[in-house]
Symmetry: D2
């Protein structure tokens, strides 16, 4: 993720942009998660129509969520690779304690 995060930062700097406020970025993330929800209901929902086009859309929605998360993380100075490893370690630990 480091490379993606650096690209994003460089790109914002090159364009003279600033990240939005945390609340604004959060709202943007929620909007993207809402679009993913629509798609999940569309593909796996009540009517269960397997739509290839919708399936491809999913990559787009997931990418938009990650873009929102990356903006947020860069604004907060969070290293996403470290964050992922920490969360995976937590699940792993919780799982070990269970057995």
């Amino acid at each position: 993720m480091k490379k993606h995060q650096e690209n994003l930062d460089k790109w914002y700097k090159d364009n003279g942009w600033e990240y939005w406020s945390p609340h604004e970025m959060l709202a943007s993330l929620v909007e993207e998660v809402g679009e993913l929800s629509r798609l999940v209901n569309h593909i796996y929902g009540p009517k269960k129509k397997k739509d290839t086009e919708a399936k491809q859309e999913m990559e787009g929605e997931i990418g938009d969520i990650l873009y929102s998360v990356m903006c947020f993380a860069n604004h907060e100075g969070i290293d996403l690779d470290k964050a992922i490893e920490r969360s995976m370690g937590k699940v792993e630990k919780r799982d070990k304690d269970r057995f």
Copy 2:
């Protein structure tokens, strides 16, 4: 709310519809919350353009959220008036304990 909930139930029955599964209704609620988020960023967000049309859209988005919540509540047999009173009581209590 009781009247709204009964209307909804009657309407579903009259049409021979069934409520979706809880996960499907939840996804639908999240989609609506995502649309509200988009609107909040649009009206109060980075550009802060006061758009009267967008302002009116808000009533629509809020109504869609309530519609999702009502479907969910009817499926689960939850009395929304009771639920509201309970939540307001909780905040009130928390507040009293503070002073």
Copy 3:
């Protein structure tokens, strides 16, 4: 809903409180929807354990969501009964057009 909305407004005024900003209220709503999600996965999710306690918790989570929506609506001057009727009318219309 009108009565609930008026109660809420009166209560805020009596306590000298002000509603949060739209972005802050939205974040609060998303937090409550997140708690409902946890509960839906708990009750209907992978392990499908029917937990009566969890089932009762649901009324609480739904109430918290409605409380967030009511704060938001009061801040924006939205009449929730009108919003519900409009959303139900929209679904009804969409449905009629389908057949």
Copy 4:
């Protein structure tokens, strides 16, 4: 991200786990976004108390969101690096068209 995604897949296979259903994973993602919302309100919200501990918690919440997204993506066969690049390209393009 490729390495993280492969680690996750290997780890699930080694443990004989299966990914949850898309709706269940979505609910889980929404739960994590809800926790991030709570934190954003806590740090940047009405009271604006800068809590160092809360600030560190944010890395944890962001990591949990990415974990949810990665499970979802692996289940759907989505390459996250590709998804990120596509989303960044889209914003870039939208931006170029604007000027």
